[in-house]
Point group: C2
Chain length 368, copies 2
């Protein structure tokens, strides 16, 4: 079986590596001749908007998925007319616009931070009046890893914030007072079977995920699974979905969702019965889902901008190394390390060593 | 880092899949344009005897290993003059000749079945006199999966046996009365670190491995580790080695060794902290070895001649599917399934289901 993937980065690479044992060969479409997934895939070099390239992808595969949410809508429509595309286009469309995404959460009764649409400088002033400060103004589309957002602390920040984002449609979000950030990675099969991974507890810095730990029997697991279940059912979802959540005094508050395999689920490669990558492929290929339960205690650290040497990481007990085959560049995720240990104490000891080897690169500015 | 592999079959394929996360890209040399490892490797199509192809392998890699032991000696010598080759040539040379292999065991004090060199029909008659019957006559070289061996039950079988093997140098082996067959997969790093996997209990039929189970705290583990340790040290070994053993009333008796990753270690992909494939690459690349301890209870079933559908296998709880991307052919190993369960009972239940889906193909005759 051949599965097409829009995008040939590290997520496609890890999907492809999980695919071969299943008898699934991945074909990626990516404009970059250096796309790091190509070592384990067939690679169509072409633009996501180019119909001829999309045609080639359709002709060489039986189902198409994607590794990023900012796929042009018209490309998805073009594909959908010819081949099954999972997750469904609606999930993609709703999640890549922060406003429709939060609207979806609200419609399903999933708590979010207060938010308001902002289409002009005047609307931003009004929204600040109504939501209060501090607040975050974010572009509705194309933001990720802390890009496309500005913190507004006082009214005099408003004009600068609006201009720095280029005057595009935005959303203003109130702040959630949270004690920790968690995410739930969930997967739904073609036949409607749902499986959720244990919560992941995430530490961001400068808007970029630095490290994640798998949670042991977290009391919030059930609440998070219920939220993920609502989303998966509402969207007739097929594939892996991640939902980022804030833990607040009032309970879980949804931050954002990603209709794809997710950085906070990378620990599942070693730390769960079947990884998020394999389960995503099982789902889109129409196979039964695999065991999402935890195996041991896991933590994952991103290698951002630079990667420690394999020797240094692999001598940490219970460690695993994941190179993405990408050339280093400031702020670029080029690999990750995982500790998967039989006890929480050993995991924490390994995590400490790993963090010492992979500190965050000098923080990038919040607005780029 | 680039690692060269002589042979591009399923062992090279699983090595390559384990290599990418480590930042290791494999380059295989294999004469077949269909070599199944090519989906995750660079593939040099060429003969193992062709110096130009070997040169290409040397130029594109930093270290060379192999997935089968019958590599021509002159090719290994040619490579060794230019690049590190692991496991060492001596291990290859000793293990691919059943006579020198058993001599090595004897020199190290590792028990074997009684054996005698047989270079002629007359020598075979003499050996039968001295060892008694029944006995197995085997070609010294090029035998695998039950090929190249004939059972002698009575003196009148002798001539037919000798002729059917083509009059090549042989070894006569007495029978071991054994209750079960086990194997130990062990690995030694460039710096001399040694790690052993838990014993695997193996069930062969018609000379081909049908299924293996990982053993829980087997009382023979220590004895087997000691034997593997003697071999690894004596050979200044680097990489993964498998030693097949009979469990007899007198203790463990060595049957044969394989200087490579081994079919009876396939369960380690899911069933151990780090798989035999990753540890082989860690060893040859000069990295520290990973955790060989068991994770849950595992069993592996070979798909021989035909493979069950993914859907059927994956609906068995705790199951994993491994396609080799090879076209089906009678007697050919084209994939395997693994059960990796939290309890022995669940593992045995899964194994029963898996065996029902993957019975042995009609037995091939012992002599081919």
């Amino acid at each position: 079986m051949k599965v097409g993937i829009l995008g040939g980065g590290q997520l496609a690479r890890m999907l492809a590596l999980a695919g071969h044992p299943l008898g699934i060969e991945c074909v990626v479409l990516d404009p970059s001749p250096d796309a790091c997934a190509q070592v384990a895939t067939s690679h169509i070099i072409g633009s996501y908007e180019d119909n001829a390239s999309l045609e080639r992808l359709v002709r060489s595969t039986q189902v198409v998925t994607y590794e990023f949410e900012n796929v042009p809508s018209q490309s998805v429509r073009f594909l959908e007319e010819q081949i099954p595309v999972y997750p469904p286009a609606e999930a993609l469309a709703l999640s890549r616009d922060r406003l429709t995404e939060k609207g979806l959460f609200r419609d399903l009764g999933i708590p979010t931070v207060p938010f308001a649409a902002v289409d002009s400088r005047e609307a931003l002033v009004e929204a600040v009046e109504s939501l209060g400060l501090p607040a975050l103004v974010k572009t509705r589309c194309l933001g990720y890893d802390g890009k496309g957002q500005v913190l507004i602390r006082s009214r005099k920040d408003i004009s600068r914030a609006w201009e720095s984002l280029g005057g595009v449609p935005c959303i203003l979000e109130g702040f959630a007072e949270f004690s920790r950030e968690v995410s739930i990675v969930a997967v739904r099969s073609r036949s409607g079977e749902i499986a959720c991974y244990p919560l992941s507890e995430n530490t961001h810095q400068g808007g970029i995920l630095h490290y994640s730990c798998s949670c042991e029997a977290d009391p919030l697991q059930q609440e998070a699974e219920a939220m993920a279940g609502l989303l998966l059912e509402r969207l007739c979802y097929v594939g892996t979905l991640a939902l980022e959540l804030f833990v607040t005094p009032q309970g879980l508050v949804a931050n954002e969702m990603a209709p794809r395999v997710h950085n906070t689920g990378h620990w599942t490669i070693e730390g769960a019965g079947v990884s998020q990558f394999e389960n995503h492929l099982r789902a889109v290929a129409g196979f039964p889902l695999g065991d999402t339960s935890r195996r041991g205690h896991s933590a994952m650290v991103n290698f951002i901008g630079a990667a420690p040497a394999q020797e240094a990481v692999l001598k940490i007990p219970h460690s695993h190394y994941h190179s993405y085959g990408k050339s280093p560049r400031p702020g670029r995720k080029i690999g990750h390390g995982t500790i998967c240990a039989p006890s929480k104490e050993e995991m924490l000891r390994g995590l400490e060593h790993l963090l010492a080897l992979a500190p965050l690169a000098p923080l990038a500015p919040l607005v780029r």
